[in-house]
Protein backbone atom coordinates (compact mmCIF):
# COMPACT_ATOMS: atom_id res chain seq x y z
CA UNK A 1 0.00 0.00 0.00
CA UNK A 2 2.07 2.81 -1.37
CA UNK A 3 0.06 5.71 0.01
CA UNK A 4 -0.02 4.37 3.56
CA UNK A 5 2.08 7.16 5.16
CA UNK A 6 -0.15 9.86 3.65
CA UNK A 7 -3.18 8.00 5.03
CA UNK A 8 -1.79 7.94 8.51
CA UNK A 9 -0.96 11.62 8.36
CA UNK A 10 -4.34 12.72 6.98
CA UNK A 11 -6.34 12.53 10.25
CA UNK A 12 -3.56 14.39 12.07
CA UNK A 13 -3.47 17.13 9.44
CA UNK A 14 -7.25 17.46 9.56
CA UNK A 15 -7.21 17.65 13.37
CA UNK A 16 -4.71 20.48 13.21
CA UNK A 17 -6.78 22.30 10.58
CA UNK A 18 -9.94 21.92 12.67
CA UNK A 19 -8.14 23.19 15.79
CA UNK A 20 -6.77 26.24 13.95
CA UNK A 21 -10.16 27.02 12.42
CA UNK A 22 -11.78 26.65 15.83
CA UNK A 23 -9.40 29.19 17.35
CA UNK A 24 -9.87 31.50 14.36
CA UNK A 25 -13.61 31.18 14.78
CA UNK A 26 -13.27 32.42 18.36
CA UNK A 27 -11.08 35.35 17.37
CA UNK A 28 -12.72 36.58 14.18
CA UNK A 29 -15.93 38.59 14.14
CA UNK A 30 -17.43 42.03 14.12
CA UNK A 31 -15.48 42.65 17.30
CA UNK A 32 -11.98 41.16 16.91
CA UNK A 33 -11.10 39.43 20.15
CA UNK A 34 -7.74 39.49 21.83
CA UNK A 35 -8.08 35.82 22.71
CA UNK A 36 -5.85 35.54 25.74
CA UNK A 37 -7.23 38.63 27.42
CA UNK A 38 -10.80 37.48 26.72
CA UNK A 39 -10.05 34.00 28.01
CA UNK A 40 -8.51 35.45 31.16
CA UNK A 41 -11.46 37.71 31.72
CA UNK A 42 -13.87 34.84 31.22
CA UNK A 43 -12.00 32.53 33.59
CA UNK A 44 -11.73 35.26 36.21
CA UNK A 45 -15.47 35.78 35.85
CA UNK A 46 -15.31 39.57 35.63
CA UNK A 47 -17.80 41.46 33.49
CA UNK A 48 -15.38 42.66 30.81
CA UNK A 49 -17.12 42.77 27.45
CA UNK A 50 -14.54 40.56 25.73
CA UNK A 51 -15.04 37.74 28.19
CA UNK A 52 -18.78 37.90 27.69
CA UNK A 53 -18.47 37.91 23.91
CA UNK A 54 -16.21 34.88 24.12
CA UNK A 55 -18.33 32.83 26.47
CA UNK A 56 -21.81 33.88 25.34
CA UNK A 57 -21.35 34.22 21.58
CA UNK A 58 -18.12 32.91 20.12
CA UNK A 59 -17.66 29.64 22.04
CA UNK A 60 -21.20 28.34 21.48
CA UNK A 61 -20.99 29.37 17.84
CA UNK A 62 -17.69 27.60 17.24
CA UNK A 63 -18.75 24.50 19.16
CA UNK A 64 -22.01 24.23 17.24
CA UNK A 65 -20.20 24.66 13.91
CA UNK A 66 -17.70 22.00 14.97
CA UNK A 67 -20.29 19.42 15.99
CA UNK A 68 -22.84 20.11 13.26
CA UNK A 69 -20.15 20.10 10.58
CA UNK A 70 -18.70 16.84 11.86
CA UNK A 71 -22.17 15.28 11.88
CA UNK A 72 -22.87 16.37 8.31
CA UNK A 73 -19.50 15.11 7.02
CA UNK A 74 -19.73 11.83 8.89
CA UNK A 75 -23.32 11.16 7.84
CA UNK A 76 -22.52 11.99 4.23
CA UNK A 77 -19.73 9.44 4.24
CA UNK A 78 -21.91 6.83 5.97
CA UNK A 79 -24.83 7.29 3.56
CA UNK A 80 -22.56 7.16 0.53
CA UNK A 81 -20.94 4.01 1.85
CA UNK A 82 -24.28 2.38 2.58
CA UNK A 83 -25.90 3.24 -0.74
CA UNK A 84 -22.59 2.81 -2.59
CA UNK A 85 -23.18 6.04 -4.39
CA UNK A 86 -21.06 9.21 -4.27
CA UNK A 87 -24.17 11.39 -4.60
CA UNK A 88 -26.04 9.97 -1.61
CA UNK A 89 -25.56 12.78 0.90
CA UNK A 90 -28.10 13.56 3.63
CA UNK A 91 -29.01 16.77 1.78
CA UNK A 92 -29.65 15.20 -1.59
CA UNK A 93 -31.58 12.17 -0.40
CA UNK A 94 -33.89 14.37 1.65
CA UNK A 95 -32.85 13.64 5.23
CA UNK A 96 -31.92 17.28 5.84
CA UNK A 97 -35.03 18.78 4.27
CA UNK A 98 -37.22 16.23 6.05
CA UNK A 99 -35.63 17.32 9.31
CA UNK A 100 -36.08 20.97 8.36
CA UNK A 101 -39.77 20.53 7.55
CA UNK A 102 -40.52 18.85 10.85
CA UNK A 103 -38.47 21.46 12.70
CA UNK A 104 -40.25 24.34 10.95
CA UNK A 105 -43.52 22.67 11.82
CA UNK A 106 -42.60 22.66 15.49
CA UNK A 107 -41.31 26.24 15.30
CA UNK A 108 -44.49 27.35 13.53
CA UNK A 109 -46.74 26.11 16.27
CA UNK A 110 -44.45 27.50 18.91
CA UNK A 111 -44.10 24.21 20.73
CA UNK A 112 -40.36 24.73 21.06
CA UNK A 113 -40.82 27.90 23.08
CA UNK A 114 -42.13 25.94 25.99
CA UNK A 115 -40.44 22.60 25.32
CA UNK A 116 -37.14 23.19 23.51
CA UNK A 117 -36.24 19.49 23.39
CA UNK A 118 -39.16 18.87 21.02
CA UNK A 119 -37.25 20.59 18.20
CA UNK A 120 -34.33 18.16 17.82
CA UNK A 121 -36.62 15.19 18.29
CA UNK A 122 -39.02 16.43 15.62
CA UNK A 123 -36.11 17.11 13.24
CA UNK A 124 -34.79 13.63 13.89
CA UNK A 125 -38.16 12.06 13.08
CA UNK A 126 -38.35 14.13 9.90
CA UNK A 127 -34.90 13.01 8.81
CA UNK A 128 -35.79 9.39 9.53
CA UNK A 129 -39.05 9.54 7.61
CA UNK A 130 -37.45 11.17 4.58
CA UNK A 131 -34.58 8.68 4.55
CA UNK A 132 -36.94 5.73 4.73
CA UNK A 133 -39.11 7.08 1.92
CA UNK A 134 -36.08 7.57 -0.34
CA UNK A 135 -34.78 4.14 0.52
CA UNK A 136 -38.09 2.47 -0.26
CA UNK A 137 -38.22 4.25 -3.61
CA UNK A 138 -34.59 3.85 -4.60
CA UNK A 139 -32.93 1.37 -2.30
CA UNK A 140 -30.67 -1.56 -2.99
CA UNK A 141 -28.78 -1.33 -6.22
CA UNK A 142 -30.69 1.63 -7.59
CA UNK A 143 -29.01 3.69 -10.26
CA UNK A 144 -27.75 7.18 -9.50
CA UNK A 145 -30.63 8.62 -11.50
CA UNK A 146 -33.29 6.81 -9.48
CA UNK A 147 -31.70 7.85 -6.23
CA UNK A 148 -31.44 11.49 -7.24
CA UNK A 149 -35.01 11.49 -8.53
CA UNK A 150 -36.25 10.01 -5.28
CA UNK A 151 -34.26 12.65 -3.40
CA UNK A 152 -35.73 15.38 -5.60
CA UNK A 153 -39.23 14.09 -4.89
CA UNK A 154 -38.75 13.96 -1.13
CA UNK A 155 -37.03 17.35 -1.12
CA UNK A 156 -39.93 18.77 -3.12
CA UNK A 157 -42.41 17.32 -0.66
CA UNK A 158 -40.58 18.78 2.32
CA UNK A 159 -40.20 22.15 0.60
CA UNK A 160 -43.91 22.13 -0.27
CA UNK A 161 -44.70 21.50 3.37
CA UNK A 162 -42.48 24.37 4.45
CA UNK A 163 -43.97 26.66 1.81
CA UNK A 164 -47.43 25.82 3.09
CA UNK A 165 -46.42 26.82 6.59
CA UNK A 166 -44.86 30.05 5.28
CA UNK A 167 -48.00 30.70 3.28
CA UNK A 168 -50.18 30.29 6.35
CA UNK A 169 -47.83 32.16 8.67
CA UNK A 170 -49.77 34.82 10.58
CA UNK A 171 -47.28 37.69 10.31
CA UNK A 172 -44.43 38.88 8.08
CA UNK A 173 -42.25 38.64 11.13
CA UNK A 174 -43.00 34.92 11.51
CA UNK A 175 -42.30 34.40 7.81
CA UNK A 176 -38.91 36.07 8.14
CA UNK A 177 -38.12 33.96 11.18
CA UNK A 178 -38.91 30.71 9.34
CA UNK A 179 -37.12 31.69 6.14
CA UNK A 180 -33.97 32.73 7.95
CA UNK A 181 -34.00 29.44 9.72
CA UNK A 182 -34.24 27.43 6.49
CA UNK A 183 -31.21 29.30 5.13
CA UNK A 184 -28.97 27.76 7.74
CA UNK A 185 -27.31 29.95 10.29
CA UNK A 186 -25.09 29.64 13.36
CA UNK A 187 -25.39 33.19 14.72
CA UNK A 188 -27.10 33.99 18.00
CA UNK A 189 -26.79 30.52 19.44
CA UNK A 190 -26.27 29.92 23.13
CA UNK A 191 -24.66 27.15 25.13
CA UNK A 192 -28.19 25.93 25.84
CA UNK A 193 -28.65 25.30 22.11
CA UNK A 194 -25.34 23.46 22.08
CA UNK A 195 -26.26 21.21 25.00
CA UNK A 196 -29.61 20.49 23.38
CA UNK A 197 -28.00 19.13 20.21
CA UNK A 198 -25.33 17.09 21.98
CA UNK A 199 -27.20 13.98 23.21
CA UNK A 200 -28.66 12.93 19.85
CA UNK A 201 -25.51 13.96 18.00
CA UNK A 202 -23.30 11.80 20.17
CA UNK A 203 -25.82 8.94 20.05
CA UNK A 204 -25.72 9.06 16.25
CA UNK A 205 -21.92 9.08 16.18
CA UNK A 206 -21.68 6.19 18.61
CA UNK A 207 -24.02 4.13 16.46
CA UNK A 208 -21.60 4.55 13.57
CA UNK A 209 -18.61 3.35 15.58
CA UNK A 210 -17.45 0.07 14.08
CA UNK A 211 -19.55 0.09 10.90
CA UNK A 212 -16.48 0.90 8.79
CA UNK A 213 -15.50 -2.69 8.10
CA UNK A 214 -19.06 -3.58 7.16
CA UNK A 215 -19.28 -0.64 4.74
CA UNK A 216 -16.00 -1.80 3.18
CA UNK A 217 -17.44 -5.26 2.68
CA UNK A 218 -20.56 -3.76 1.13
CA UNK A 219 -18.36 -2.60 -1.75
CA UNK A 220 -18.79 -6.11 -3.15
CA UNK A 221 -22.59 -5.91 -3.05
CA UNK A 222 -25.13 -6.82 -0.39
CA UNK A 223 -25.17 -10.53 -1.19
CA UNK A 224 -21.41 -10.98 -0.98
CA UNK A 225 -21.30 -8.84 2.15
CA UNK A 226 -23.91 -11.12 3.67
CA UNK A 227 -21.82 -14.17 2.79
CA UNK A 228 -18.95 -12.44 4.59
CA UNK A 229 -20.87 -12.19 7.84
CA UNK A 230 -22.52 -8.76 7.48
CA UNK A 231 -26.23 -8.45 8.15
CA UNK A 232 -27.21 -5.88 5.47
CA UNK A 233 -30.66 -5.32 6.98
CA UNK A 234 -29.24 -4.50 10.40
CA UNK A 235 -26.46 -2.35 8.93
CA UNK A 236 -28.97 -0.35 6.89
CA UNK A 237 -31.14 0.47 9.88
CA UNK A 238 -28.14 1.24 12.00
CA UNK A 239 -26.91 3.83 9.49
CA UNK A 240 -30.40 5.26 8.91
CA UNK A 241 -31.01 5.73 12.62
CA UNK A 242 -27.54 7.15 13.20
CA UNK A 243 -27.89 9.63 10.32
CA UNK A 244 -31.35 10.64 11.46
CA UNK A 245 -30.12 11.26 15.01
CA UNK A 246 -27.05 13.25 14.04
CA UNK A 247 -28.46 15.14 11.03
CA UNK A 248 -31.72 15.79 12.87
CA UNK A 249 -29.79 17.35 15.76
CA UNK A 250 -27.62 19.41 13.42
CA UNK A 251 -30.54 20.70 11.34
CA UNK A 252 -32.58 21.47 14.45
CA UNK A 253 -29.75 23.67 15.72
CA UNK A 254 -28.35 25.37 12.63
CA UNK A 255 -31.12 24.98 10.05
CA UNK A 256 -30.53 23.71 6.55
CA UNK A 257 -26.87 23.62 5.66
CA UNK A 258 -26.41 21.80 2.40
CA UNK A 259 -23.57 20.18 0.52
CA UNK A 260 -21.16 19.62 3.43
CA UNK A 261 -22.10 15.91 3.48
CA UNK A 262 -21.66 15.72 -0.29
CA UNK A 263 -18.48 17.68 -0.89
CA UNK A 264 -16.34 16.60 2.05
CA UNK A 265 -16.44 12.79 1.62
CA UNK A 266 -15.95 13.18 -2.10
CA UNK A 267 -12.85 15.33 -1.72
CA UNK A 268 -11.30 13.05 0.89
CA UNK A 269 -12.14 9.68 -0.69
CA UNK A 270 -9.00 9.36 -2.86
CA UNK A 271 -6.78 9.93 0.18
CA UNK A 272 -8.14 6.86 1.98
CA UNK A 273 -7.86 4.57 -1.03
CA UNK A 274 -11.62 4.90 -1.73
CA UNK A 275 -12.33 2.71 1.29
CA UNK A 276 -15.76 3.70 2.67
CA UNK A 277 -14.90 2.61 6.20
CA UNK A 278 -11.77 4.70 6.51
CA UNK A 279 -13.62 7.66 5.03
CA UNK A 280 -15.91 8.02 8.06
CA UNK A 281 -13.56 9.60 10.58
CA UNK A 282 -11.75 11.86 8.13
CA UNK A 283 -15.09 13.06 6.74
CA UNK A 284 -16.23 14.01 10.23
CA UNK A 285 -13.05 16.08 10.64
CA UNK A 286 -13.38 17.50 7.13
CA UNK A 287 -17.03 18.41 7.71
CA UNK A 288 -16.14 20.22 10.92
CA UNK A 289 -13.37 22.10 9.09
CA UNK A 290 -15.66 23.06 6.21
CA UNK A 291 -18.45 24.38 8.41
CA UNK A 292 -16.06 26.25 10.70
CA UNK A 293 -14.41 27.78 7.62
CA UNK A 294 -17.74 28.71 6.05
CA UNK A 295 -18.91 30.26 9.31
CA UNK A 296 -15.72 32.32 9.45
CA UNK A 297 -16.26 33.17 5.77
CA UNK A 298 -19.67 34.75 6.37
CA UNK A 299 -18.09 36.97 9.02
CA UNK A 300 -15.22 38.07 6.79
CA UNK A 301 -17.12 38.61 3.53
CA UNK A 302 -18.32 42.23 3.70
CA UNK A 303 -22.03 42.40 2.93
CA UNK A 304 -24.62 44.87 4.21
CA UNK A 305 -26.87 42.12 5.48
CA UNK A 306 -24.83 39.33 7.05
CA UNK A 307 -24.54 36.26 4.83
CA UNK A 308 -26.06 33.04 6.14
CA UNK A 309 -23.64 30.14 6.36
CA UNK A 310 -26.02 27.76 4.55
CA UNK A 311 -26.09 30.17 1.61
CA UNK A 312 -22.31 30.13 1.43
CA UNK A 313 -21.98 26.32 1.56
CA UNK A 314 -24.65 26.03 -1.14
CA UNK A 315 -22.85 28.59 -3.34
CA UNK A 316 -19.66 26.56 -3.05
CA UNK A 317 -21.32 23.14 -3.06
CA UNK A 318 -23.81 23.39 -5.91
CA UNK A 319 -21.24 23.93 -8.69
CA UNK A 320 -19.28 21.08 -7.16
CA UNK A 321 -22.40 18.92 -7.32
CA UNK A 322 -22.82 19.76 -11.01
CA UNK A 323 -19.24 18.74 -11.67
CA UNK A 324 -19.84 15.47 -9.85
CA UNK A 325 -22.86 14.72 -12.04
CA UNK A 326 -20.90 15.45 -15.21
CA UNK A 327 -18.18 13.16 -13.94
CA UNK A 328 -20.52 10.31 -13.06
CA UNK A 329 -22.24 10.66 -16.43
CA UNK A 330 -18.89 10.03 -18.03
CA UNK A 331 -18.24 7.07 -15.76
CA UNK A 332 -21.55 5.29 -15.73
CA UNK A 333 -23.26 6.12 -19.01
Amino acid sequence: MSNAPANRRLPVILCVVVALLFIASLAIGREPLPLFAALGSWLRGDDAVHGIILSQIRIPRALIALFAGASLGLCGAAMQGLLRNPLASPGLVGSASGAAFFAVFVLYFGVSNTMPWVLPIAAMCGAMLATIIVYLMAGRDASITTLILAGVAVNALATAGMSLLLNLAPSPFAVRELVLWTLGDITDRSMADFWLMIPTTIAGWLLLVGVGGQLDTLTLGERTAESMGVNPQRLRWRVFIAVSLAVGAAVATVGMIGFVGLVVPHLLRPYVGYQPGRLLMVSALGGAAMLLAADIGVRIIPTDTPLKVGVLTALVGAPFFLRLIVQSRREYV
Binding site: M1, T219, L220, R223, T224, G229, V230, G273, Q275
Partner: protein, 254 residues
Amino acid sequence: MLIAHSVGIIRNNKKLVDNVSLTLNAGELVGLIGPNGAGKSTLLNAVAGLTPCDEGDVTLDGTSIKRIPATKRSRLLSWVAQSGPVNWPLSVERIVTLGRRPHMGAWQKPGDDDKRAIDAAIAATDCDALRQQDATTLSGGERTRMLLARALATEPTVLLADEPVAALDLKHQLQTMSVLRSFSADDRCCLVVLHDLSLAARYCDRLYLMQQGQMVADGITADVLSAENLRNVYGVEAAPGLGELPGGWRMADD
Protein backbone atom coordinates in the same frame (compact mmCIF):
# COMPACT_ATOMS: atom_id res chain seq x y z
CA MET B 1 -19.03 -32.31 5.28
CA LEU B 2 -21.75 -30.18 3.73
CA ILE B 3 -25.11 -31.82 3.06
CA ALA B 4 -28.29 -30.48 1.47
CA HIS B 5 -31.25 -32.55 2.66
CA SER B 6 -34.22 -32.50 0.25
CA VAL B 7 -33.98 -28.75 -0.23
CA GLY B 8 -36.97 -26.93 -1.71
CA ILE B 9 -37.07 -23.22 -2.56
CA ILE B 10 -40.27 -21.52 -3.62
CA ARG B 11 -40.54 -18.03 -5.14
CA ASN B 12 -43.82 -16.57 -6.38
CA ASN B 13 -45.50 -19.96 -6.12
CA LYS B 14 -42.87 -21.47 -8.38
CA LYS B 15 -40.55 -24.19 -7.18
CA LEU B 16 -37.10 -23.02 -8.23
CA VAL B 17 -35.48 -25.91 -6.41
CA ASP B 18 -37.50 -29.03 -5.78
CA ASN B 19 -36.49 -31.75 -3.35
CA VAL B 20 -32.79 -31.58 -4.11
CA SER B 21 -30.13 -33.31 -2.04
CA LEU B 22 -26.40 -33.16 -2.39
CA THR B 23 -23.31 -34.04 -0.39
CA LEU B 24 -19.92 -32.41 -0.35
CA ASN B 25 -17.20 -34.52 1.26
CA ALA B 26 -13.83 -33.29 2.45
CA GLY B 27 -11.30 -33.20 -0.35
CA GLU B 28 -13.86 -33.18 -3.14
CA LEU B 29 -14.31 -30.82 -6.07
CA VAL B 30 -17.93 -31.21 -7.09
CA GLY B 31 -19.48 -29.68 -10.18
CA LEU B 32 -23.07 -28.47 -10.42
CA ILE B 33 -24.20 -28.41 -14.02
CA GLY B 34 -27.40 -27.95 -15.95
CA PRO B 35 -28.98 -25.70 -18.57
CA ASN B 36 -29.90 -22.05 -17.89
CA GLY B 37 -32.69 -21.64 -15.37
CA ALA B 38 -32.16 -25.09 -13.87
CA GLY B 39 -31.88 -23.62 -10.36
CA LYS B 40 -28.13 -24.06 -9.92
CA SER B 41 -27.43 -20.58 -8.56
CA THR B 42 -30.49 -20.69 -6.31
CA LEU B 43 -29.32 -24.00 -4.89
CA LEU B 44 -25.81 -22.61 -4.41
CA ASN B 45 -27.23 -19.60 -2.53
CA ALA B 46 -29.22 -21.93 -0.30
CA VAL B 47 -26.14 -24.03 0.38
CA ALA B 48 -24.26 -20.82 1.26
CA GLY B 49 -26.99 -19.97 3.78
CA LEU B 50 -27.91 -16.80 1.86
CA THR B 51 -31.34 -18.00 0.74
CA PRO B 52 -33.43 -19.70 3.41
CA CYS B 53 -34.73 -23.14 2.49
CA ASP B 54 -38.51 -23.38 2.30
CA GLU B 55 -38.24 -27.15 2.58
CA GLY B 56 -35.44 -29.36 3.82
CA ASP B 57 -32.23 -28.09 5.33
CA VAL B 58 -28.53 -27.60 4.69
CA THR B 59 -26.08 -28.84 7.30
CA LEU B 60 -22.38 -28.19 7.73
CA ASP B 61 -20.72 -30.93 9.81
CA GLY B 62 -24.11 -31.80 11.24
CA THR B 63 -25.16 -28.25 12.22
CA SER B 64 -27.93 -26.55 10.31
CA ILE B 65 -26.44 -23.68 8.30
CA LYS B 66 -28.98 -21.21 9.67
CA ARG B 67 -27.95 -22.06 13.24
CA ILE B 68 -24.30 -21.20 12.57
CA PRO B 69 -23.61 -17.59 13.61
CA ALA B 70 -22.92 -15.36 10.59
CA THR B 71 -19.32 -14.57 11.59
CA LYS B 72 -18.44 -18.22 12.10
CA ARG B 73 -20.17 -19.17 8.87
CA SER B 74 -18.28 -16.51 6.96
CA ARG B 75 -14.98 -18.02 8.14
CA LEU B 76 -15.92 -21.57 7.20
CA LEU B 77 -17.63 -20.87 3.93
CA SER B 78 -16.83 -18.56 1.02
CA TRP B 79 -19.29 -17.75 -1.71
CA VAL B 80 -18.31 -16.23 -5.03
CA ALA B 81 -21.11 -14.47 -6.86
CA GLN B 82 -21.65 -14.75 -10.57
CA SER B 83 -20.25 -11.40 -11.80
CA GLY B 84 -20.50 -9.65 -8.42
CA PRO B 85 -20.39 -5.84 -8.34
CA VAL B 86 -17.46 -3.68 -7.24
CA ASN B 87 -18.84 -0.31 -6.22
CA TRP B 88 -15.80 1.80 -5.35
CA PRO B 89 -12.49 2.07 -7.19
CA LEU B 90 -10.52 0.23 -4.50
CA SER B 91 -7.23 -1.35 -5.47
CA VAL B 92 -7.28 -5.06 -6.23
CA GLU B 93 -5.14 -5.68 -3.17
CA ARG B 94 -7.65 -3.94 -0.92
CA ILE B 95 -10.52 -5.95 -2.38
CA VAL B 96 -8.67 -9.20 -1.73
CA THR B 97 -7.89 -7.95 1.78
CA LEU B 98 -11.64 -7.71 2.39
CA GLY B 99 -11.57 -11.51 2.29
CA ARG B 100 -9.76 -11.43 5.65
CA ARG B 101 -12.54 -9.38 7.30
CA PRO B 102 -14.29 -12.45 8.76
CA HIS B 103 -11.08 -13.21 10.69
CA MET B 104 -10.42 -9.68 11.86
CA GLY B 105 -11.96 -7.49 14.54
CA ALA B 106 -13.52 -4.19 13.55
CA TRP B 107 -10.34 -2.23 14.32
CA GLN B 108 -7.73 -4.87 13.60
CA LYS B 109 -5.08 -4.32 10.95
CA PRO B 110 -4.04 -7.27 8.75
CA GLY B 111 -1.43 -9.34 10.60
CA ASP B 112 1.21 -11.73 9.25
CA ASP B 113 -1.26 -14.58 8.81
CA ASP B 114 -3.62 -12.30 6.93
CA LYS B 115 -0.86 -11.00 4.66
CA ARG B 116 0.32 -14.52 3.89
CA ALA B 117 -3.23 -15.60 2.97
CA ILE B 118 -3.69 -12.51 0.79
CA ASP B 119 -0.41 -13.05 -1.03
CA ALA B 120 -1.19 -16.73 -1.60
CA ALA B 121 -4.66 -15.94 -2.95
CA ILE B 122 -3.31 -13.25 -5.28
CA ALA B 123 -0.58 -15.54 -6.56
CA ALA B 124 -2.93 -18.48 -7.08
CA THR B 125 -5.29 -16.42 -9.24
CA ASP B 126 -2.50 -14.75 -11.21
CA CYS B 127 -3.49 -11.28 -9.93
CA ASP B 128 0.03 -10.19 -8.98
CA ALA B 129 0.32 -7.73 -11.84
CA LEU B 130 -3.07 -6.22 -10.96
CA ARG B 131 -2.35 -5.63 -7.27
CA GLN B 132 -2.37 -1.82 -7.29
CA GLN B 133 -4.85 -1.48 -10.12
CA ASP B 134 -8.25 0.16 -9.65
CA ALA B 135 -10.68 -2.77 -9.35
CA THR B 136 -13.45 -1.03 -11.30
CA THR B 137 -11.26 -0.80 -14.41
CA LEU B 138 -10.60 -4.54 -14.66
CA SER B 139 -11.93 -6.61 -17.52
CA GLY B 140 -14.66 -9.14 -16.76
CA GLY B 141 -12.20 -12.00 -16.53
CA GLU B 142 -9.72 -10.12 -14.36
CA ARG B 143 -12.54 -9.13 -12.05
CA THR B 144 -13.69 -12.73 -11.72
CA ARG B 145 -10.17 -13.78 -10.78
CA MET B 146 -9.91 -10.98 -8.23
CA LEU B 147 -13.22 -11.98 -6.64
CA LEU B 148 -12.06 -15.58 -6.47
CA ALA B 149 -8.85 -14.36 -4.83
CA ARG B 150 -11.01 -12.50 -2.28
CA ALA B 151 -12.82 -15.77 -1.47
CA LEU B 152 -9.59 -17.79 -1.28
CA ALA B 153 -8.02 -15.20 1.03
CA THR B 154 -10.67 -16.09 3.61
CA GLU B 155 -9.14 -19.60 3.71
CA PRO B 156 -12.53 -21.25 4.09
CA THR B 157 -13.28 -24.94 4.48
CA VAL B 158 -16.02 -24.80 1.87
CA LEU B 159 -15.76 -22.79 -1.33
CA LEU B 160 -18.92 -22.16 -3.33
CA ALA B 161 -18.29 -20.64 -6.73
CA ASP B 162 -20.95 -19.58 -9.21
CA GLU B 163 -19.57 -19.86 -12.74
CA PRO B 164 -16.06 -18.70 -11.88
CA VAL B 165 -14.72 -19.45 -15.36
CA ALA B 166 -17.52 -18.00 -17.49
CA ALA B 167 -15.70 -14.78 -18.44
CA LEU B 168 -12.18 -16.15 -18.50
CA ASP B 169 -9.84 -16.78 -21.39
CA LEU B 170 -8.70 -20.31 -22.04
CA LYS B 171 -5.50 -20.18 -20.02
CA HIS B 172 -7.18 -18.65 -16.99
CA GLN B 173 -10.08 -21.12 -17.23
CA LEU B 174 -7.64 -23.98 -16.86
CA GLN B 175 -5.71 -22.11 -14.21
CA THR B 176 -8.80 -21.31 -12.17
CA MET B 177 -10.00 -24.89 -12.35
CA SER B 178 -6.63 -26.16 -11.14
CA VAL B 179 -6.77 -23.62 -8.29
CA LEU B 180 -10.14 -25.07 -7.29
CA ARG B 181 -8.72 -28.55 -7.75
CA SER B 182 -5.77 -27.97 -5.44
CA PHE B 183 -7.99 -26.10 -2.97
CA SER B 184 -10.15 -29.23 -2.64
CA ALA B 185 -7.80 -31.26 -0.48
CA ASP B 186 -7.50 -32.27 3.16
CA ASP B 187 -10.62 -31.05 4.98
CA ARG B 188 -11.58 -28.55 2.29
CA CYS B 189 -14.12 -28.98 -0.46
CA CYS B 190 -15.56 -26.97 -3.31
CA LEU B 191 -18.89 -26.83 -5.11
CA VAL B 192 -18.68 -25.10 -8.44
CA VAL B 193 -21.41 -24.18 -10.92
CA LEU B 194 -20.13 -24.79 -14.43
CA HIS B 195 -21.39 -24.47 -17.96
CA ASP B 196 -18.34 -25.87 -19.65
CA LEU B 197 -18.87 -29.62 -19.56
CA SER B 198 -15.41 -30.53 -20.74
CA LEU B 199 -13.90 -28.54 -17.85
CA ALA B 200 -16.38 -30.22 -15.52
CA ALA B 201 -15.40 -33.60 -16.88
CA ARG B 202 -11.73 -32.94 -16.58
CA TYR B 203 -11.49 -31.42 -13.11
CA CYS B 204 -14.46 -32.52 -10.98
CA ASP B 205 -14.57 -35.61 -8.79
CA ARG B 206 -18.32 -35.84 -9.03
CA LEU B 207 -21.09 -34.00 -10.84
CA TYR B 208 -24.67 -33.07 -10.05
CA LEU B 209 -26.92 -32.42 -13.03
CA MET B 210 -29.98 -30.22 -12.54
CA GLN B 211 -32.93 -29.55 -14.78
CA GLN B 212 -35.94 -27.35 -14.00
CA GLY B 213 -35.25 -27.28 -10.30
CA GLN B 214 -34.74 -31.01 -9.95
CA MET B 215 -31.68 -33.17 -9.63
CA VAL B 216 -31.74 -35.50 -12.61
CA ALA B 217 -28.40 -37.21 -12.23
CA ASP B 218 -25.47 -37.39 -9.88
CA GLY B 219 -22.38 -39.46 -9.48
CA ILE B 220 -19.00 -39.83 -11.08
CA THR B 221 -18.41 -37.72 -14.15
CA ALA B 222 -18.60 -40.42 -16.78
CA ASP B 223 -22.03 -41.57 -15.57
CA VAL B 224 -23.53 -38.10 -15.34
CA LEU B 225 -22.27 -36.97 -18.72
CA SER B 226 -23.79 -39.95 -20.51
CA ALA B 227 -25.06 -39.46 -24.02
CA GLU B 228 -28.57 -40.13 -22.74
CA ASN B 229 -28.40 -37.43 -20.04
CA LEU B 230 -26.98 -34.87 -22.45
CA ARG B 231 -29.72 -35.60 -24.95
CA ASN B 232 -32.52 -35.43 -22.37
CA VAL B 233 -31.30 -32.41 -20.41
CA TYR B 234 -29.40 -30.26 -22.88
CA GLY B 235 -30.96 -31.55 -26.09
CA VAL B 236 -27.57 -32.15 -27.69
CA GLU B 237 -25.85 -35.16 -29.10
CA ALA B 238 -22.47 -35.55 -27.43
CA ALA B 239 -19.26 -36.65 -28.97
CA PRO B 240 -18.15 -39.89 -27.34
CA GLY B 241 -15.50 -39.81 -24.65
CA LEU B 242 -16.14 -36.23 -23.51
CA GLY B 243 -13.40 -35.02 -21.21
CA GLU B 244 -10.70 -36.87 -23.08
CA LEU B 245 -11.42 -35.19 -26.37
CA PRO B 246 -8.47 -35.52 -28.73
CA GLY B 247 -8.54 -31.77 -29.26
CA GLY B 248 -8.95 -31.04 -25.55
CA TRP B 249 -6.94 -28.08 -24.23
CA ARG B 250 -4.14 -28.29 -21.81
CA MET B 251 -2.15 -25.53 -20.11
CA ALA B 252 1.22 -24.87 -21.66
CA ASP B 253 4.06 -25.81 -19.34
CA ASP B 254 5.38 -22.31 -18.98
